[in-house]
């Protein structure tokens, strides 16, 4: 958490109005994202009771397994039809190609937006894992589509771990990236509460609207956002309906019978999921109002490229995933994610003056007015003493890290100035006298992507590391 977050949170808590953390949208938002809202059966690890999904707010589709503990009902009512729909959504994107930098890549990657982090953790790693190894013949066979959807969900979950990816997004995290509410991060995982802070009714405050939402939750008027089960809803609403359903179906698992007797459960699930469905779309709408940050398109292109690879693997029948990464794979993933994280931080700061403000506030960067340019030096006047010590290498923000400078001189009495000497990169370019210039540690270089290490790196060695050793005869 940066000092900017702390200042904005203190202000929000004081007057009840949320504050911005960014002045642009830093994630890609598709025209028609696939929104997924789920409720999980309590006590079961990967058994959804209901799923509401669709690519348009006005057209939610609902799948309900009135007795998710029955494998037959669970697959027939939810997993199989959902898998077929998901595969259709993905297939359209996999086949629509364009040539970019001499390579054929998909014009669009899939994008799933869910209400909260718990749903993201549920649909990607958990449901994906539960489906991808199933058998398509013999006892308990499932349709091919279901297994393929398992691979897709697994890939979405993995890709989403890459900082800056937009293929699987949680609305609570999206909102937290762009706004600061006067509550803790833990409380803002409730989408309804956080949304009330950011988008209160007219003439109210975020604090008041959020308190009203909590009141409704505790009076049982507003169901939880899923997929984590709500014990009181389970007890008061669901349990009697499920008992009734099981009595009426007399052990039958046939689709028509399930549908006939499951109507009341469908209605209850629809009522429980609808507020979260609407809130998720409302969050998307708020994000769409922000201008898109310049580097979003490039990150989305990375998502599209990765998706193209995944789609090709699925096509070739090679989309296999281990249950656990090998040690080398784990080390590789860590370095990939670290490098994506630092690129993301730099890009966001260089794109967005409000993100840069966090670095300026924390004395990593500074902004000043150019008073003189004597190549290769630039003199800036500052509002206070230069917060960064002489000798530090920084980058001129305008050139997005392509022009490196070193601080050669600072004055610590008024008038405050700093002198910078241009060192490397685009040394032909200089800011204009009288303009504002920002110097920061952020560079958006094109780093070569980390390679899979040849041996297990020392960071991943330990007493429990299974070190693969070459087989040699005695």
């Amino acid at each position: 958490m940066s000092t900017l977050d702390v200042v904005q949170r203190l202000r929000a808590a004081t007057d009840g109005h949320a504050r911005p953390r960014a002045s642009m949208c830093h994630r890609h938002v598709e025209e028609a994202p696939l929104v997924l809202v789920m409720y999980r059966m309590s006590g079961e690890s990967a058994a959804p009771l209901g799923v509401m999904y669709g690519t348009r707010v006005a057209r939610p589709r609902l799948l309900v397994a009135p007795e998710p503990r029955s494998r037959q009902i669970r697959f027939q009512e939810i997993f199989n039809p959902l898998a077929a729909e998901l595969n259709r959504y993905i297939a359209v994107r996999a086949s629509d190609r364009e040539i970019l930098r001499n390579r054929s890549i998909c014009r669009q990657a899939p994008q799933i937006i869910v209400p909260n982090s718990a749903t993201a953790d549920f649909v990607g790693p958990l449901v994906g894992r539960s489906l991808r190894y199933l058998k398509t013949d013999g006892d308990y066979a499932v349709p091919d589509d279901t297994v393929v959807a398992g691979a897709h969900l697994t890939w979405l979950g993995l890709q989403a771990e890459l900082p800056g990816s937009s293929v699987l997004l949680a609305a609570t995290e999206l909102l937290r990236r762009h706004w600061v509410s006067g509550i803790s991060d833990l409380e803002s995982e409730d989408l309804h509460v956080q949304l009330a802070w950011i988008d209160p009714p007219a003439r109210s405050t975020g604090a008041k609207a959020a308190a009203a939402v909590e009141e409704r939750r505790f009076s049982g008027d507003l169901a939880a956002g899923g997929p984590t089960p709500d014990p009181s809803w389970d007890r008061d609403v669901l349990a009697p309906l499920v008992a009734d359903f099981n009595a009426k179906r007399t052990r039958s698992e046939d689709h028509p019978i399930v549908v006939r007797h499951g109507a009341a459960i469908c209605t209850a699930v629809r009522e429980a999921l609808e507020p979260t469905w609407n809130s998720t779309w409302r969050a998307i709408e708020l994000l769409r109002r922000l201008p898109q940050a310049p580097s979003v398109a490039r990150r989305w292109e990375d998502d599209r490229r990765e998706f193209t690879n995944h789609a090709e693997r699925v096509e070739a029948g090679d989309a296999r995933f281990r249950t656990r990464d090998s040690v080398k794979q784990a080390a590789y993933m860590v370095s990939r994610r670290e490098s994506a994280q630092s690129t993301l931080e730099a890009s966001e700061a260089l794109d967005d003056p409000l993100v840069m403000a966090a670095a300026i506030g924390e004395a990593q960067a500074f902004a000043g007015t150019v008073v003189a340019v004597n190549r290769p030096t630039v003199e800036l006047s500052l509002a206070g003493p230069c917060p960064v010590p002489a000798g530090t290498e920084l980058y001129w923000a305008e050139q997005r890290g392509k022009c490196s400078v070193v601080i050669t001189e600072t004055t610590d009495t008024e008038p405050f100035t700093v002198t910078l000497e241009t060192k490397k990169g685009k040394t032909k370019y200089y800011p204009l006298v009288g303009r504002r210039a920002v110097y920061s540690p952020f560079k958006e270089g094109s780093f070569p992507p980390p390679k899979m290490p040849a041996n297990v790196p020392w960071t991943h060695l330990g007493p429990e590391t299974p070190i693969p050793s070459a087989e040699v005869p005695d």
């Binding site: 002045s23 006590g43 079961e44 007890r235 403000a357 300026i360």
Partner: protein
């Protein structure tokens, strides 16, 4: 007040039976004196929260309870067959054991209530002694035992959800949980909660052994956690070392002896501030539950107990919502998250922090944080175009 504040509060607000879960709560927020005093009096926090007008929303779904019971029944069926296999796969401790003997201490003929619990505790201690002395007919599996733990001068009877397994003359505790272990990993929050809870059982069995003159080390702090494997209801067993939790619990229990001095200080402070705590308690006893007056007097009493609210309380403590409103009333920055509190250090209200941002003269030890907040605030204004 002639008797202890904690037990008086228990009398006024109602008590509950201590369990491993409530004892383990000692480990989640040890800095909270409010919780320490209320726990020492075994106050029923669920009904107190309701009385305070901020009911908690915990409890378990009937489906979760049903699934948990089915899992347990399944792995205990046929003389613990599935459970023994899962544990043997992990530790190989039942190799060569021909007749696996188990003892279920859930019922003692004709007894009920307190007498039953005490009789079960005595039987459990006997069984543990038989194992410790290496008697050849000692059981291999001890189910539904009752052990005791001294908490703040009270003997707490713990109904063991966990089972004890005999390994020679040693004991292994096995806790059965309903959350899945998928590809060898499980939710760290759930494993952490299970570890804290199992540590309470380990500590109480150690005490039972020590009370009968045996080495408490006979019970291993490496406990076996048995959970459903992947997406099935077949069991899988893993080892979890709860040594750290046991030692933390011991530390908290020793600290508990101070609860009475904490209570005395609270009473003295109340008197110093002109608050008639005794009078409040008398009117709380007289007030009807569910009335506005009853709510107010309960709030006034609880207000006298110093709290330590952090947002994480919301996930584990029944009183959290009430304490959150206390924290808001006191304008504590900590309610906004640990990061906010640690950045602000000794700036102890949100208003004071805002004052520093807006140009209030900082004290010497706040100068640094004031500079940081102001620089950031100026940078924000600069970026958002506010002159």
């Amino acid at each position: 007040m002639d008797c202890d504040l904690a037990s008086t509060l228990g009398r006024v607000f109602g008590t509950r039976n201590a369990s491993a879960r409530s004892t383990a709560a000692l480990l989640s927020n040890p800095a909270c004196e409010r919780r320490a005093v209320l726990d020492a009096g075994r106050v029923d926090l669920v009904s107190l929260a309701e009385r305070l007008g901020a009911p908690a929303q915990f409890g378990q779904s009937p489906f979760a309870i049903g699934q948990g019971n089915r899992f347990e029944e399944r792995i205990k069926a046929d003389g613990y067959a599935a459970l023994v296999t899962a544990i043997d796969d992990l530790l190989g401790i039942f190799e060569g054991v021909e007749d696996l003997r188990s003892v279920n201490l859930e019922r003692v003929g004709g007894l009920r209530g307190r007498a039953l619990v005490e009789a079960r505790a005595a039987q459990t201690a006997d069984v543990l002694e038989a194992i410790a002395t290496g008697q050849p007919d000692a059981p291999h599996v001890v189910d539904h035992g009752v052990t005791t733990l001294e908490v703040a001068g009270n003997t707490v009877y713990l109904e063991q959800d966990a089972l004890a397994f005999r390994v020679g003359e040693h004991l292994r505790i096995c806790e059965i949980k309903g959350f899945p272990i998928i590809d060898g990993t499980a939710s760290p929050t759930k494993v952490g909660a299970a570890a804290r809870q199992t540590a309470v059982y380990v500590a109480s069995i150690q005490d039972t052994l020590a009370a009968r003159g045996f080495d408490p080390e006979l019970v291993s702090s490496e406990v076996v956690l048995v959970c459903p494997k992947n997406f099935s209801i077949a069991p899988t067993a893993v080892l979890v070392d709860v040594d750290r939790e046991v030692r933390a619990l011991r530390r908290q229990l020793r600290r508990r002896i101070d609860v009475s001095s904490v209570a005395q200080r609270i009473q003295a402070d109340a008197g110093h501030n002109g608050i008639d705590l005794e009078g409040l308690i008398a009117s709380a006893e007289a007030a009807k539950v569910g009335t506005k007056a009853g709510q107010r007097v309960a709030q006034e009493i609880v207000d006298e107990l110093p709290f330590h609210y952090v947002p994480e309380c919301l996930t584990s403590c029944d009183l959290a919502r009430h304490c959150r409103s206390c924290s808001v009333a006191a304008d504590e920055p900590g309610r906004l998250g640990g990061d906010v509190a640690s950045l602000l250090g000794s700036v102890d209200t949100v208003a004071a922090a805002i004052g520093l941002i807006d140009g209030a003269e900082p004290s010497a030890d706040h100068a640094e944080v004031a500079d940081l907040l102001r620089a950031t605030s100026e940078a924000i204004d600069d970026a958002t175009g506010i002159a």
